[in-house]
């Protein structure tokens, strides 16, 4: 019945709005996935605890807001720093021992995610928490029939800003040259005095920090629960893999997936949309396991 009962009739304005909303969904998937893309693309590490880093970001925002009365906008950089430091800690204690063993990183980080979920549960209890967003973000943008809430727009802009910052760091700074060198050929990079371990640490911390910011933003859309991160991990991975583990690829894949999700759920419902989407992804990966964009990336 779920398919047939309410097969929404096609209506142009509303459909265009659905496309517009697709972009909004895409920005959420993208910001959830961008840290993962960087970590996986650079280090070959499958970080199953990425969703939990998002969760930590959300809880950090909650703590900063509730106990230190820090305004939301200021929370974002602070969350980035705090979660980065935590990421650094994880990298030094666990991830570092597992380079060149990608499947093992997948398993170890799954264990880590269990610890983080339960740890947060023990500290904050089971009751949900929430992040309040500043009231000036409670506006709506209306462009004719197109409609977008201010906070969504804020997320889109924040995502764009973070992507731009990441791109700038990667392609316009000497630091970026180092990271890309390690990505392309770790041995050669180290022959030029680049300490790949240090690059990995900082890259991981950076990816973790991005996840933290994503969490801070998601806190404005939904409740904070210790296991909120697990809801993002599958989508984030699919964005990364479909995109081909590159920044540009992730942008394209999140837009495509976000639009498809929006269009499917426009015509049917959210659950069925997921089924169709996941099946399409499996088929896509069968024919293009290297993802959408593959330019010269060295796989491990």
């Amino acid at each position: 019945m779920s398919v047939t009962d309410f097969w929404t009739p096609f209506e142009l304005n509303s459909f265009l709005n659905a496309l517009f909303i697709g972009l909004s969904i895409a920005s959420i998937w993208l910001i959830a996935a961008v840290g993962l893309t960087i970590i996986y693309g650079t280090m070959g590490v499958i970080n199953m605890a990425h969703g939990e880093l998002i969760m930590l970001g959300a809880y950090t925002t909650y703590v900063l807001q509730t106990f230190f009365y820090i305004p939301f906008l200021l929370c974002l950089p602070l969350v980035f720093i705090i979660v980065s430091i935590f990421g650094l800690f994880i990298e030094r204690t666990i991830i570092r021992r597992l380079y060149n063993r990608p499947l093992d990183t997948l398993l170890a980080t799954w264990g880590l995610s269990l610890i983080l979920i339960q740890g947060v549960r023990v500290i904050f209890g089971t009751a949900p928490k929430y992040v309040s967003i500043p009231s000036w973000l409670n506006f709506q943008v209306s462009l004719g029939f197109l409609h977008l809430p201010g906070f969504r727009l804020f997320i889109i802009l924040a995502t764009a800003a973070l992507i731009f910052a990441t791109w700038y760091i990667a392609y316009r700074t000497t630091w970026g040259i180092r990271v890309r060198a390690v990505m392309a050929d770790p041995d050669m990079a180290s022959s030029f005095g680049i300490d790949s371990n240090r690059i990995y640490s900082i890259t991981f911390a950076y990816g973790a920090g991005l996840a933290g910011v994503a969490g801070a933003l998601f806190g404005g859309l939904k409740t904070l629960l210790p296991d909120m991160g697990s809801g993002y991990i599958v989508e984030a991975f699919l964005v990364v893999v479909v995109g081909g583990t590159q920044l540009l690829g992730s942008i394209f894949s999140s837009i495509i997936l976000g639009e498809l999700a929006s269009i499917f759920s426009y015509f049917t419902n959210d659950t069925f949309a997921r089924f169709v989407l996941f099946t399409l992804i499996v088929i896509f990966l069968r024919f293009r396991p290297q993802g959408l964009i593959t330019e010269g990336m060295k796989r491990r």
Partner: protein, 231 residues
């Protein structure tokens, strides 16, 4: 300058080099000779710290290097031009050379004049993607990149392999200049006996991971070549 004492080197658990001894003075040029697959590249990688495990001792300028990481060795003054160049194709020429400067002491992120002076082509094409360079140009870039690290010792693995003859000559002159005029110690592996003989002060011959013969370049006679290198 570069000293290897009884060095054994491993990939995984398998030893590839056995008990290598080398002693090289400042400004000397050593040529490593041997057939394909006898461990010449491994020797380079061992010096650079790119193998899994090393027994024995490696020192540069008296400074102990055996347990140091590759990056630390590069900073200590080892420059590396690997076999097949291993240029970063997605990087521009400028970025490739800049990579080298990260191993410098002092000023970084600035391309040293010497790199561009030696290879005018690179100066004119700094913003070109390295993937579009020809083999000889890539080799020039690889040498420029290694020079950017301000090396005391330059390791060159097959610098003339797969390059058209006129450029081989260019590279030969460049190496002479680096060694004789600037005083950089060179270690190179070379298939062309002629080049090896005229460029180097010393040679060693390797076979199946062992050092089987060594001497000054005058001692690299046809007899020696026939004994160790004939097929």
């Amino acid at each position: 300058m570069l000293r290897l004492v009884d060095v054994t080197s491993y990939y995984g658990k398998t030893p590839i080099l056995h008990g290598i001894n080398i002693d090289l003075k400042k400004g000397e040029c050593l040529c490593v000779i041997g057939r394909n697959g006898v461990g010449k590249t491994t020797l380079m990688q061992t010096v650079m710290g790119l193998t899994t495990r090393i027994d024995g001792k490696i020192s540069i300028d008296g400074e102990e290097m055996t347990q140091r990481s590759t990056a630390e060795r590069a900073i200590a003054g080892l420059g590396y031009v690997p076999q097949g160049r291993r240029i970063f194709g997605k990087f521009t020429v400028r970025e490739n050379i800049l990579l080298g400067t990260f191993a410098r002491q002092g000023i970084k992120a600035q391309i040293p004049e010497i790199c561009l002076e030696l290879f005018p082509y690179l100066r004119e094409n700094l913003d070109k993607k390295a993937a579009f360079l020809s083999g000889g140009q890539l080799q020039q870039l690889a040498i420029a990149r290694a020079l950017a690290t301000d090396p005391k010792i330059l390791l060159l693995d097959e610098p003339t392999e797969g390059i058209q003859p006129n450029i081989v000559e260019d590279i030969y002159h460049t190496l002479v200049r680096l060694n004789k005029n600037i005083g950089i110690t060179l270690v190179l592996t070379e298939q062309h006996i002629k080049i090896a003989k005229s460029l180097s002060d010393k040679f060693i011959i390797m076979d199946t991971g062992r050092l089987v013969h060594s001497g000054t370049s005058e001692e690299l006679t046809d007899d020696v070549v026939n004994t160790y290198l004939s097929i």
